[in-house]
Amino acid sequence: MVTLTSYLILSAAMFIIGATGVLVRRNAIIVFMSIELMLNSVNLTLVAFSAFLGDSTGQALVFFVMTVAAAEAAVGLAIVIALFRRKQTVNLDEINILKW
C-alpha cells in the first residue's frame, strides 16, 4: 500500500542523491541537474504532505518552487556558457583561480 511514508522515503532518497551529486560531481551541468533533483524532491514532499493534510497551501508553494527552479537553471546555464567561452571547460576542478 502506498502511504505518506512511502512518498517521504522516496523524496528523502531523491534529495540525498541530489545533494550528493552537487557535492561530488565535477561537471557543472551535472551539478545543475542534481540541484533540480533536490528541488523536485522538495516538491514531492510538499505535494504529499498537502494531499495528506488536505491543505492546498503546500501545492501553492510547489508552483513557486517550480518557477524559482526554472529561473535558477536559466541564470546558471547562462553563467556556465559565459565561463565556457573563456575557459573551454565545464569541469569545476579546472575553474580554480580563486581559492582559500
Partner: protein, 499 residues
C-alpha cells in the same frame, strides 16, 4: 472581499511598487538612451530616493498585508531603510567606479538589477510567511548571481558567479526541504500559525530539529555564516567592488532581518510570563539558540583566523565580514530585546564603516590597479586623506574607541553579559583581538612602510572626497554621540504579532 483586502494592501506596498517601477524605467531607458550611461544611473538614483521617502512614510505602521504574507512593522521598516541607504551609496560608488564604468557594457541592466535586488531584500525584511521568505531570498540571489559576474571580461568574475550560484542553489534547496518538513509537521506556512501549531501540539522533536537545521542552512548562506560561507571569499574577490560592498552590507542585513523574525516569531513561547522584561523563552526546551551559538563561534573564529593569511584586501574584508556575521549572531543567541537591539544598532554602524572600507579599496584599485595589501605601502603619504580614512574605518571594524564600531560592540557585549553568556563574550573578545592583528598589517603598510618603486601620489576628485567624508564623518560621530541610534534601534524592535 478578497479584492478590497488586496487593494488595501497595495496602499501599504508603496516602496516596493516604486522599486518595481524604477526597475522597469531604468531597463527601458537603457534601450532608448543607448549612448548616455548617465541616464539610467540618474533614473535609478531618483527611484531609490523616492523609495526612501516611501519607506519613511511607513514609520509607525504595524500590520500585515496580503493576508499575512508580508509584515509592515517598525522592524521591517528599519531594515528597508538600511537597504535603501546602502543602495543609494552603491549607485554613487558605481558612478565613480572606473571598473564599472569602463568594463560593463550594459550599464542600464546593471542599475536595474541593483534595484531588483533591493526589491528582493525589502521582501526578505518583511517576510512573515515561509513562501515569502523563499521568494524574497530567490529574487535577491538571482539578481546577485548575475551582478557578481557582470564584468564578463574578467574571468574570475564569471568564475565567482558560478561558485555563487552553485552554493546558492544548494543552500536554497536545503532550506526548501526544511520548509517542506516544517509544513508537513504543522500544516501551515505563516509564521504566527507555525508558532501556535508548534506550541499547541508537540510535533516530532527530531523532525523539528532537522527542519530547523536545514532552514538555518539557507539563512547561513545569506549571512555567510560558517559552514555555509564558502562562496563569500571567492565572490567578494571576483565580483566588482561595488557589488561586493552591496552584498556585504545590504544582503547580510536582509538575511539577518529574515533570520531574526523567523526565530523570534516562530520559536518563542509567548505563554511564559515569569521572565524579566525583555527576555524571551524558547518553546518547550527546543533550544535553537544553542545551535546559533555554535554557528556564531565557528563563524567569527574561522573568519578571523583565515583573514590573517590574506594578501588581497578585498578577500581580507570578505573574511572580516564573515567574522562580523559571527559577532552579530551573538546578539540573537541571548534571547533578549537588548541583544536584538544591539544587532540593529550594529547594522547602522556596520553600514558606514564597511561601505567606507570598500569605497577606499575601490578608489585605490581604480588608481593603482591593484587590491594587494602590498600596494598600500606608503599610502598614508601618497594620499593622506585616503590613508587616514582607511585607518579610521579599520579601527572602527576592529571595534576600538572613539569610533562607531566600538559602540556597536559595546552594546553587543553588554547584552551578552546581561544574559549571563560569559563564555561567548570571552570568545568574542578574543576574536576582536585577533582581528586587530590583520587590520594592523594594513595600517603598518600604509604608514610605516616606504612605497616600492616609484611612489606616485594617489589623488581623488572633489566629488569622490565629499562621498568619502559622508561615510567617514558618521563613523567618527556615532562613536561619540550615539543615543539617537540606540533609541532608533529600541523603537525598531516591534514585530507584528509578537507581544
Amino acid at each position: 472581499m478578497m479584492l478590497t483586502s488586496i487593494l488595501e494592501s497595495i496602499a501599504t506596498f508603496v516602496p516596493e511598487t516604486v522599486l518595481v517601477a524604477t526597475f522597469c524605467v531604468t531597463l527601458v531607458s537603457g534601450l532608448i538612451a543607448r549612448r548616455k550611461p548617465a541616464v539610467p544611473a540618474a533614473l535609478a538614483f531618483v527611484g531609490m530616493l523616492v523609495t526612501l521617502w516611501a519607506v519613511l512614510q511607513q514609520a509607525g505602521t504595524d500590520r500585515t498585508i496580503f493576508s499575512g504574507l508580508l509584515a509592515v512593522d517598525p522592524f521591517a521598516v528599519f531594515f528597508k531603510g538600511i537597504v535603501t541607504v546602502t543602495t543609494l551609496f552603491i549607485l554613487l560608488f558605481s558612478y565613480f567606479s572606473t571598473e564599472v564604468q569602463t568594463s560593463v557594457r550594459r550599464l542600464a541592466e546593471y542599475y536595474a538589477l541593483i534595484t531588483a535586488m533591493a526589491l528582493g531584500m525589502f521582501l526578505m525584511a518583511g517576510a512573515n510567511n515561509m513562501l515569502m521568505m523563499v521568494l524574497g531570498m530567490e529574487l535577491t540571489s538571482l539578481s546577485s548571481y548575475i551582478l557578481a559576474g557582470f564584468t564578463k571580461e574578467a574571468s574570475d568574475s564569471s568564475e565567482a558567479s558560478l561558485k555563487y550560484i552553485i552554493y546558492g542553489a544548494l543552500s536554497s534547496g536545503l532550506m526548501l526541504y526544511g520548509i517542506s518538513i516544517l509544513f508537513g509537521l504543522t500544516g501551515t506556512l505563516g509564521f504566527a500559525d507555525l508558532n501556535h501549531a508548534i506550541a499547541n501540539a508537540v510535533p516530532n522533536y527530531f523532525a523539528l530539529l532537522v527542519a530547523t537545521i536545514l532552514i538555518i542552512a539557507g539563512f547561513g548562506y545569506k549571512i555567510s555564516a560558517v559552514p555555509f560561507h564558502f562562496w563569500t571569499p571567492d565572490v567578494y574577490e571576483g565580483a566588482p567592488v561595488t557589488i561586493t560592498a552591496f552584498l556585504s552590507v545590504a544582503s547580510k542585513a536582509a538575511g539577518f532581518a529574515m533570520l531574526m523574525r523567523f526565530f523570534k516569531v516562530v520559536f518563542i513561547d509567548t505563554s511564559v510570563l515569569a521572565l524579566p522584561a525583555g527576555m524571551w523563552a524558547s518553546l518547550y526546551g527546543f533550544e535553537w539558540n544553542k545551535l546559533l551559538a555554535v554557528l556564531s563561534v565557528l563563524t567569527m573564529t574561522l573568519g578571523n583566523l583565515v583573514a590573517v593569511w590574506q594578501n588581497n584586501l578585498k578577500r581580507l574584508l570578505a573574511y572580516s565580514s564573515i567574522a562580523h556575521a559571527g559577532y552579530m549572531l551573538m546578539g540573537i543567541v541571548v534571547l533578549s530585546d537588548k541583544g536584538l537591539a544591539a544587532v540593529l544598532l550594529y547594522f547602522i554602524v556596520y553600514l558606514f564603516m564597511n561601505l567606507g572600507a570598500f569605497y577606499v579599496v575601490m578608489l585605490v584599485a581604480d588608481r593603482t590597479g591593484s587590491e594587494d595589501i602590498d600596494s598600500y605601502k606608503g599610502l598614508g603619504y601618497r594620499a593622506p586623506l585616503l590613508g587616514v580614512a582607511m585607518a579610521i574605518f579599520l579601527v572602527s571594524l576592529t571595534g576600538l574607541p572613539p569610533t562607531a564600531g566600538f559602540i556597536g560592540k559595546l552594546y553587543l557585549f553588554a547584552a551578552l553579559l546581561d544574559a549571563r553568556w560569559i563564555w561567548l563574550a570571552i570568545v568574542g573578545a578574543i576574536n576582536s583581538v585577533i582581528s586587530l592583528y590583520y587590520y594592523a598589517r594594513v595600517f603598518r603598510n600604509m604608514f610605516l612602510r616606504d612605497p616600492e618603486g616609484q611612489a606616485t601620489p594617489v589623488s581623488i576628485g572633489r566629488a569622490q572626497t565629499v562621498l568619502l567624508l559622508v561615510l567617514l564623518v558618521p563613523t567618527l560621530l556615532f562613536g561619540l554621540y550615539f543615543s539617537p541610534l540606540v533609541d532608533l534601534a529600541n523603537a525598531s524592535l516591534v514585530m507584528v504579532g509578537v507581544r
